[in-house]
């Protein structure tokens, strides 16, 4: 039979590494059975992973496109597919399809800009792809500030990479925070939106926000009160998805489908959409 390809039919992938990041987030390295990257992607794009019989779910590709060997996914345990993946071992196969969505405009809009990345919890997953892309092409971007917070020290994703790699890069400043004081933590304590206000950034930056809806809401308000314009701020939306290509009708906000018109939106574009996300 000679039918055209269909995006709903996935490829087989295999887990080649599992890293325990936090009590409920693990990072999985995935390649095809012959050891290649399943497909190319741009920073901010997503993929559908599935375990047949368990289900399919959408995840940000957290590794940068500049990594030509494999893809990584940081996955938080919260339901059928994610729980199943959390007990999977190296060598386990899964299915993968994508890439889906609109990426961050890293090569045009972001080029030459000072970048401010702000993430909360597992919200670092989509940003890590952009951050590592900007680090890879370091001379194309200005200063990089990264504000990242989570509940506790143990809940910080990619901690080792942040401390050993990001913090040592020239022109990259990392500002970590946790919600409550904790033994062995001498960094900042407090919620991300307040920390961003305290840091009182210069408005000559392009900001990228990702995290729980409540964090996004307050951080966005904070940035605007500091003088940022919404056209300088990008974020990603997360809605329930099934097809990933604007056909199953599930993920729309007004006339936009988050799976194909998003998940990356500029904050002034969000203002044009009805408040239903």
């Amino acid at each position: 039979m000679n039918m055209r390809e269909d995006t709903l039919i996935p490829k087989v992938g295999v887990i080649t590494d599992v890293r325990i990041d936090t009590p409920d987030i693990k990072t999985f390295r995935v390649v095809t059975p012959d050891g290649k990257k399943a497909f190319d992607h741009r920073p901010g794009q997503c993929a559908m992973l599935s375990i047949p019989g368990v289900g399919e779910a959408m995840f940000s590709i957290t590794s940068s496109p500049t990594n030509t060997e494999y893809m990584e996914f940081s996955i938080k345990k919260c339901g059928c597919v994610t729980e199943w993946l959390h007990q999977a071992e190296v060598g386990q196969q899964l299915t993968i399809r994508g890439p889906y969505g609109n990426p961050f405009p890293v090569d045009d809009v972001f080029a030459g800009k000072n970048m401010l990345f702000i993430a909360g919890g597992v919200g670092l997953a989509p940003l890590r792809s952009v951050i590592n892309y900007c680090r890879h092409y370091r001379d194309r971007y200005g200063d990089i500030d990264i504000v990242y917070g989570s509940r506790s020290k143990d809940d910080l994703l990619d901690y080792k990479e942040i401390i050993e790699e990001w913090s040592n890069d020239a022109g990259v400043k990392v500002h970590l925070t946790i919600d409550n004081p904790q033994e062995g933590w001498n960094g900042h304590v407090g919620f991300v939106p307040n920390y961003v206000k305290e840091l009182n950034f210069d408005t000559n930056k392009t900001a990228v926000l990702c995290g729980p809806p409540i964090m996004i809401k307050f951080t966005l308000e904070g940035l605007c009160s500091m003088g940022f314009d919404k056209t300088q701020i990008y974020t990603t939306l997360e809605l329930r998805m099934k097809c990933g290509v604007g056909k199953c009708g599930r993920c729309n906000v007004g006339s936009k489908y988050v799976c194909k018109d998003g998940p990356v939106f500029r904050c002034d574009e969000l203002d044009e959409l009805p408040d239903e996300y």
Binding site: D6, T95, P213, E238, R240, C243, C248, G249, R250, S255
Partner: protein, 340 residues
Amino acid sequence: MRKLSLENINKLFAAVAEDKTLYLPVDQSDGSAKYSKWAEGTVWSNALNTVRSPKDLFFPQTEDLMEFKTEGKNIEVIDIRKESEDFVIFGVRACDVKSFEVLDRVFLSEPVDSYYASRREHAVIVSLACSRPSETCFCTTFGIDAINPEGDVSAWKTATDIYFKANTEKGEEFLASIEALTEESDDTAVNEQKAKTADIMKKLPLADLTTDSFGGGKTEELWNNPVWDEFSQTCLGCGTCTFVCPTCQCYDIKDFDTGNGVIRYRCWDSCMYSEFTRMAHGNNRLTQKERFRQRFMHKLVYYPENNGGLFSCVGCGRCLSKCPISMNIAKVMRKIGGDK
């Protein structure tokens, strides 16, 4: 124009069914009509329209997409797709013909849905002009011409004969295949009937319903309209309106363990259901008001915004006759648009 006496209609069906599967409306024991496969002895229904729309033939209620075999940690993906066989859908009303265009813009836009595309490519659509439109019909509201239906072939049925005109290459081929049974005819009888039907259309209760208040770019204006609150109060969230609707295309993807592998299938879903958008961190459409609003805003504002002004309602009236609480899109349009 080609003509055939209705006395010989079964000869035509038999000829068509010789090399293509033929679907047409057939009366069911419960009094409704349903698109069914023609076989010797099948009687073509006289009903105005079927309860379920012909979208079933392109986008079935459930459909297997692929299979998986798993062994230990290994997974094999099995492509179970088969090219569709050639088939003919006979007697499709103008509203339903238009619904195919609405679905095409979703399923045939990139990346093309191969399941839908295969059926669509292999189908010949023979439409049928209306002569007895009912009080729930409002296709004219959406610019659809019930007496001149589109499709590969258009057909008109009078008391004694049926007339055919081809509109596409596929349609020409279809008429060529039944040429021996039909004869050339002028369009006098057809025109007489068209004039009569046009008169009835003008007097229908929904004849004055307009789309003036709707279309792309109206989201902000209509989003906070009190109608959503008021009209959704009694909505049961049963989803009947979405299932009978020829243009509703939302689907779910699920896995089924056969004991000997896993089948991944899709099935119709409904934006009227509370589970539709539920996520790990909450639900962005918490109450029936939001779901109700989604259904109508999609058809009247979002879809036209994304599709050059084409509405995603064809005025078939199915939801008008089937909603258990008598709620429907025409009521919503009237309420918002005022009684104009």
